[in-house]
Symmetry: C2
Subunit: 139 residues, 2 copies
Amino acid sequence: MEKKDEMVLKRIGSIRSPLTSREECPKQASEGGHEGMIIIEPHLRDGLEGLEAGREILIFTWLHLADREILKVHPRGDAGRPLRGVFATRSPSRPNPIGLHRVTILEMSERGMRVAPLDVIDGTPVVDIKPVLEISREG
Amino acid sequence: MEKKDEMVLKRIGSIRSPLTSREECPKQASEGGHEGMIIIEPHLRDGLEGLEAGREILIFTWLHLADREILKVHPRGDAGRPLRGVFATRSPSRPNPIGLHRVTILEMSERGMRVAPLDVIDGTPVVDIKPVLEISREG
């Protein structure tokens, strides 16, 4: 049972990717550029209506292997760089390990979509998808 | 107790804002432009080290008043526009009502920071903060 004030995320889908360990993941998507599949839970596929190939979207993931207790990290995992607060970095280590990935839809399919670039470990939960806003400062 | 595979968000902070109802919130931040305060939980303030006035950041909120069961909405709440899947819109109604707000830090303070533009209801939980990446496609 979900308590009234609890913020419990639902898995809306899963990443299918050739990456199977954290060591294979580049620090930022701009350095990599693999394709990935996003498989959406069957009962939520109506929520995709209006998305199409060529659109840019933001994928929100839950980086389930992250350490949620760390508050300072060496940026980009480089021990030679001074420690910084996790909120000043994109480290997966943070109290709520939400990953944010800006990708282009390559193809819509019955089960979800194919996107790139996406360098996320196979099986990572997807928790939200939003369009990139063309006009505003967001996204 | 948190079950192993549950994705439970922790409140890392709270929005302090002059907006007290959804009706006062513009549909997109670009239309509004109020200032807001982000008050960070005392035990997590070490995570802010490295952030400073002038930096652009992404604030992730939990839009606690949203309807999590809706899968199709009229874009921008306009009943004259055809229904679209929630993942093709920025509607707060979606399975996981995560809000994403791109803001500039106006001032750091002992308890958190002052930012703009931020049109979010007073008391909204903050669940993550990330820097905008200047070089990559993200953010």
